[in-house]
């Protein structure tokens, strides 16, 4: 009896290795993709061009020691392209560490980003905290750049976003999960940073505002900064007031913004922005003369600029701030309220109330 039991147990144990063995793939048999680019190829049969930057790992991490190769293939869809790319490399592709997805400018303008999003959100090994951006002039050139300062492949582009590396005031950070939300949420539209090449590095100081399909508006760096401050409350930004002989520049350490909708048939969107910081550049003894006045003057200047941006975005017919979402949240579930909002939005008025508070001149006397 016991011998029979042992025999059965042994048999089961020998079957065990066959169970999950296929999944086991050692780390050195995997090719880490560090950035992925999607382009439009102008060939109607194989419209999608997928470029992958693959890391060549080394046990030593040093400045400029990052090695990588770029592989590109055209196919009828992104999924097919990636499958096809596997036949050009010697190891299994691993997207687990791919944190940068670059959509070519042409792809977004011609085809929209819905197909790319479908693929990105379905793959289980793609992380939702990845950064998504628009590549200019195309995604391939952004993917294939190998900056000299990189310690390990893909590091440079990744550190440009968020607060991980540089805390740039002009860089909009859009994560994949946020993009996905903005793609499907009624009354809230996506914003994507635009990355281009600049000498031996990346330049990410512009943003594109999209509707649910395609790009509607490209913002210049100053507008991107304003968008960052009013929509995303990014800290460590800057606020300049034109003045003679030198501009007064406030380094904002904290920025808060809050949106309020007022008025039923003739709505006014009030954006309250609170900016705290210290003067980084100003004519001497400016603060002592009129501290409160300077704060008000800077606030007024900021409000004017921001309102200009808001009207520009409104006229493009997009809504990255989520005014529509606010409207839907404020009004109870009456029928046709979304249609009503769509009618109201082109005529909405904006009011930016900026509360600038200067903490000091940054000097010790």
């Amino acid at each position: 009896m016991i011998r029979k039991k042992t025999l059965v147990l042994c048999l089961m144990l020998t079957l065990l290795p066959a169970l999950g063995g296929c999944q086991l793939k050692d780390i050195d048999k995997r090719y880490f993709v560090v950035s992925t680019g999607f382009d439009y190829s102008d060939n109607p049969k194989t419209p999608y061009r997928v470029s992958l930057r693959l890391a060549l790992p080394s046990s030593k991490v040093e400045e400029g020691g990052a090695m990588s190769v770029v592989q590109t293939v055209d196919a009828a869809s992104i999924a097919e392209a990636v499958r096809h790319l596997k036949s050009t490399v010697d190891k299994e592709l691993e997207f687990g560490h791919c944190r940068e997805f670059i959509l070519g400018r042409k792809l977004i303008e011609k085809d929209g980003f819905d197909n790319a999003m479908q693929w990105l959100s379905r793959r289980r090994d793609i992380q939702s905290v990845s950064n998504v951006m628009i590549g200019e002039p195309d995604a391939f050139s952004v993917v294939s750049l190998q900056p000299k300062s990189e310690r390990y492949p893909g590091n440079s582009l990744f550190l440009s976003f968020g607060n991980e590396g540089t805390e740039a005031a002009h860089t909009v950070t859009t994560y994949l999960f946020d993009l996905y939300r903005r793609l499907y949420e009624t009354g809230l539209d996506p914003v994507l940073p635009v990355a281009s090449l600049f000498r031996d590095g990346y330049r990410i100081d512009r943003a594109a505002v999209l509707d649910k399909q395609k790009t509607r508006l490209y913002l210049d760096p100053d507008e991107t900064l304003l968008l960052n401050m009013t929509a995303f409350g990014v800290d460590n930004t800057i606020l300049a007031l034109p003045d003679e002989p030198v501009n007064v520049v406030l380094a904002a350490t904290h920025t808060n913004s809050k949106i309020n909708l007022k008025g039923g048939e003739d709505p006014v969107a009030i954006v309250n922005v609170r900016i705290e910081g210290f003067l980084e550049q100003s004519p001497p003894h400016l603060l002592e003369k009129d501290w409160g006045g300077l704060e008000r003057k800077m606030g007024k200047h900021f409000s004017e600029e921001a309102e200009k941006l808001l009207y520009k975005i409104r006229d493009a017919g997009v809504d990255p701030y989520g005014f529509g979402l606010h409207y839907l949240a404020d009004h109870h579930n009456e029928k046709g309220r979304w249609e009503k909002w769509k009618r109201l939005y082109p005529d909405i008025r904006f009011e930016v109330r900026a509360n600038v508070s200067i903490q000091g001149s940054g000097l010790i006397r």
Binding site: D28, F32, S58, S59, R99, R151
Partner: protein
């Protein structure tokens, strides 16, 4: 009498059987000289019988002194002889005289459970001395000692200790029953006795604690639990115990509170590390490399490039080496021990990595596993943890990170299901519900 004894014992060389005659009376005496205290023999029997001989006084002494036992049944004579008693026949009556040679008169130094500031004395291999040590520390009238003399080949005395007012009656009855039912092989050490008492052979965790510290035993008694002392063993058995008792060093009582809390936390972290780290290494390297930060992933990737075997072979290889090293240095003489550690730890580890047999991260994993294992204060428990980590390695090889998580869950379920002599093993607090009220 002497003929009967010789019939049973044969005539071993270390046995003395004499008939003494002082001119007035005859005395038959037999004993094992090696097991008897010769001074006691001389003072108690030889002197009164030889040059201080007075027939009345000698007779009176035999009948009244507490050193002499009368009316011992014939079949027990040999048992007493074998324990170091002296058997004598005077005027047709047989007496047993207690003159057992005491090997130890001093408490031992702690060796296994060292403590920085706690008591340094440990149990000895003498039961009477051990009882003295316990009585000194736990000096209350309620301390009860029950003696058991199992009819096995060793016949070592067993003492069951408990606090009469605090003990749990059902547990006590269960332990008594098991002590009476011991098998009749050789019983050599407390660890062996603990194994027999806890019965189940394939349990994954110990349910009785073996200790050499009288202070730990006293605290245990004070909690209303039981302790068992075995003659000839310098370890006591504590039961019932909980999972958390094993992670408790006696220093935790004596050190500042913050420090001891920190150390307890450290021990649990170490336990988890030594249990899970090899399994985590396998499952992350071979199944889910995205768990690492990207730098670490590339570094491991780079350092694994030269390794020819899959990650689990690498892990098993290194674990085998470290286990062999521990096992070898455990039984080495102290003078050679440090050499083994140097050869094994430094040279082998470094060389294995340079030869491309294992990755450099694996060396770190192995050393963390080995060091963390020694942080566990109880050696029995650390043995169980040591073997249990292979179960996790096995699961990780076939099922990856998911397997490890499911394995950990299963382990917790198993622990919750375990009972130590009727008490829940994984309980944070001791149950007081069925405490005896008398």
């Amino acid at each position: 009498m002497l003929e009967k004894i010789k019939e049973i014992l044969g005539s071993p060389a270390d046995f003395t059987a004499e008939t003494m005659d002082n001119g007035y009376a005859e005395l038959q005496i037999c004993f094992f000289p090696g097991m008897c205290d010769m001074d006691q023999l001389k003072d108690g029997i030889i002197i009164p019988f030889s040059y201080r001989f007075d027939p009345d006084e000698f007779r009176r002494m035999l009948h009244t002194s507490i050193g002499f036992m009368k009316d011992v049944p014939e079949e027990r004579w040999v048992d007493y002889l074998l324990k170091g008693y002296i058997l004598l026949e005077y005027e047709g009556e047989v007496f047993v005289f207690r003159a057992i040679r005491r090997m130890q008169t001093q408490p031992d130094q702690t060796q296994v459970e060292a403590s920085l500031q706690g008591p340094q004395s440990a149990f000895t291999e003498n039961l009477d001395l051990n009882l003295t040590l316990v009585r000194n520390l736990y000096n209350v009238p309620e301390l009860t000692v029950e003696n058991f003399e199992p009819q096995n080949q060793s016949k070592s005395k067993i003492a069951l200790l408990y606090d009469r007012t605090k003990r749990n009656e059902t547990t006590l009855e269960e332990v008594r029953k098991r002590l009476r039912r011991l098998d009749d092989g050789l019983l050599l050490s407390a660890g062996q006795l603990a194994k027999q008492l806890t019965q189940a052979k394939y349990r994954l965790f110990p349910i009785a604690q073996v200790t050499e510290r009288p202070d730990r035993l006293s605290i245990h008694l004070n909690k209303g639990k039981l302790a068992i002392l075995l003659d000839g063993s310098r370890f006591a058995i504590l039961l019932p115990v909980h999972f958390f008792d094993f992670m408790y060093a006696m220093d935790d009582h004596y050190e500042p509170s913050w420090m001891s809390r920190f150390l307890i936390g450290l021990r649990y972290i170490s336990m988890m590390l030594t249990l899970m780290l090899p399994a985590l290494y396998i499952s992350i390297v071979s199944y889910n490399p995205e768990v690492f930060r990207v730098q670490l992933a590339f570094t491991i990737d780079g350092s694994r490039a030269a390794v020819p075997y899959p990650s689990f072979i690498e892990v098993l290889l290194m674990l085998f080496m470290i286990e062999a090293l521990i096992e070898a240095s455990l039984r080495l003489p102290r003078s050679v021990g440090s050499t083994a550690a140097t050869v094994g730890g430094l040279i082998l580890g470094q060389a294995a990595q340079q030869a491309g047999l294992v990755s450099s991260i694996m060396i770190i994993v192995t050393s963390v596993v080995a060091i963390s294992n020694f942080v566990i204060p109880n050696s029995t428990f650390s043995y169980f943890i040591r073997i249990l980590k292979y179960a996790f390695v096995l699961v990780a090889v076939f099922a990856g990170l998911v397997g490890v998580v499911v394995g950990l869950f299963t382990l917790v379920v198993y622990l919750c299901n375990m009972r130590s002599f009727g008490e829940p093993y994984f309980a944070l607090f001791q149950s007081k519900a069925n405490k005896a009220s008398d």
